[in-house]
């Protein structure tokens, strides 16, 4: 069975090409993925991300629960509305999912987790929550629209109730607040995203989602499919769960070490495994690659290094750089000259520090 977001008919009416995405019938593009990509880099584009799972957590011990559940530390969240990116690990230090946690107060937090991992995430969270008497409440009645690009914030803010505009204008990165949208609809506006551009991710009650989408179209925001979302996030150096990491990959091996908080005395799930791996030395690393030759780096291609074989994780043609870029997981140590096997031909690739693109421009050294 394929699930549909409340915007499904809207996408079809706009001529979207629909594909199955983790059990959801979603738009991959509305014509040209590359044009949509450039719209986000240069102006403003929007994505229906209503398939993502919103989970509210309630109870006096919610903060303690999240200190146990997440590898990053919710103690960093001190102001209501602040958000944090974190991995949720198993006991082996493998990544069950990556997510964003929003802080309302010590007894109320919100998680936004991936669509494809919804069922296992909910099962895991509920199982862990029992010891803390935390109530886990999925919020399927919410839709979500990501509006991204250098002009995205301006276009969204113009649609808000006048009284809310100065406050949302001042919203810092990785912070969220409630605001009134067109016709007084209640919005939860977060200055987050998955494209490497500024913008908002907006949570809206389903019954208002079509009207909000239409208001954004009228404001000149270009509808963009999940195809463009994928090339944008890859250029921005952001991991995709299932492709760049999974339950058999630790944050160390997925370049997510920066999201682990070894704060003193906090016993989070996976901590001892991560510490053991660190002490032993991490065997595999995730790197960025650029192919200067013609061709496209793709998931699953073999990567040859002086230390042995690795593989391409996320790989694609980069519309901004007009060449192929990828993440790869390779053996740790000096890799020497790196080559990628594309249909039996070994092509040289360059190891680079990513992000590949930030704020619309190629990064230095790319």
């Amino acid at each position: 069975m394929t699930a549909k977001t409340v915007l499904n008919d809207t996408h079809r009416a706009l001529g979207a090409r629909m594909v199955d995405f983790g059990g959801w019938d979603m738009p991959i593009n509305y014509g040209s993925q590359i044009e949509e990509h450039h719209a986000v880099r240069g102006d403003a584009g929007m994505f229906d991300v209503s398939h993502m799972t919103v989970i509210d957590l309630h109870g006096p011990r919610t903060r303690d629960f999240l200190r146990h559940l997440l590898a990053n530390s919710v103690d960093k969240l001190k102001v209501s509305g602040k958000a944090l990116y974190s991995c949720m690990l198993n006991e082996r230090g493998g990544v069950i999912d990556d997510l964003i946690v929003y802080f309302f107060d010590d007894a109320h937090y919100r998680l936004v987790v991936n669509a494809a991992t919804r069922a296992k995430d909910l099962a895991w969270i509920e199982a862990q929550a029992k010891d803390f008497d935390v109530v886990v409440k999925e919020r399927p009645e919410f839709a979500m629209i990501a509006v991204q690009g250098p002009n995205a914030r301006g276009k969204v803010i113009a649609l808000l109730h006048e009284g809310d505009r100065p406050r949302i204008e001042k919203l810092g990165k990785f912070a969220a607040a409630a605001a009134q949208g067109p016709h007084g609809m209640p919005l939860f506006v977060a200055r987050t995203g998955y494209t490497g551009e500024d913008g908002f991710e907006i949570i809206v009650p389903e019954e208002h989602a079509v009207a909000l989408w239409q208001a954004l179209v009228d404001a000149g925001v270009k509808p963009c499919g999940l195809g463009a979302r994928d090339t944008l996030r890859l250029e921005a150096g952001m991991n995709l769960y299932g492709q760049d990491m999974d339950e058999d990959v630790s944050p160390w091996e997925a370049n997510l070490g920066w999201t682990i908080a070894f704060d003193e005395g906090r016993d989070f799930i996976g901590r001892s495994a991560l510490e053991a791996q660190k002490a032993e030395g991490v065997k595999r690393v995730m790197v960025g690659l650029v192919l200067d030759d013609k061709g496209v780096l793709r998931h699953g291609q073999k990567v040859l290094t002086a230390q042995g074989e690795g593989e391409i994780l996320s790989g694609s043609f980069s519309p901004t750089l007009e060449k192929a870029i990828a993440f790869a997981r390779i053996p740790a140590g000096e890799p020497g000259d790196i080559r990628v096997d594309i249909r039996g031909r070994e092509l040289p690739v360059r190891l680079v520090r990513y992000p590949f693109v930030r704020d619309g421009k190629p990064c230095e050294g790319i």
């Binding site: 090409r17 991959i28 040209s32 496209v296 043609f317």
Partner: protein, 131 residues
């Protein structure tokens, strides 16, 4: 979706073949195929002079989304390839049945052309795919 030209023959795998006045066979991918692949970014063409077998992969087109093998509709020798695609692969998106052609084969067995789908049969196949 543009009209399918009636003088074309098709493989089920969405390659088209057109018999030219000089008896050679020009090959490309259908408009339906380019739309399904999305923006094309790279084309790997065969060598001129290479001999090819009907049904074998002889070229590759890559979109942002995926790489796709292109099969030879007939056996024979490659007599020309569309070099312009190397710099402008998006030509296939813009004009799949015209300027977006891939290569030309001098067929060794013209009887193989009879095995291909005609335009109506191909139209019916993609109609069924969409349901």
């Amino acid at each position: 979706m543009s009209e399918i030209p009636g003088d074309l023959k098709f493989l089920k795998s969405h390659e088209w073949a057109r018999v030219e006045d000089d008896g050679t066979v020009r090959v490309g991918i259908s408009d339906h195929a380019q739309a399904a692949l999305g923006d094309l970014v790279y084309v790997e063409l065969p060598e001129v002079g290479a001999s090819v077998q009907a049904g074998n992969g002889v070229a590759v087109v890559e979109s942002v989304k995926a790489a796709s093998d292109i099969y030879a509709p007939v056996s024979g020798e490659i007599v020309s390839v569309n070099e312009a695609l190397t710099d402008k692969p998006e030509t296939i998106n813009e004009d799949a049945f015209g300027d977006g052609w891939l290569f030309v084969i001098r067929p060794s067995d013209r009887g193989e052309l009879d095995e291909l789908l005609d335009a109506d049969a191909y139209a019916e196949q993609i109609e069924n795919e969409d349901h």
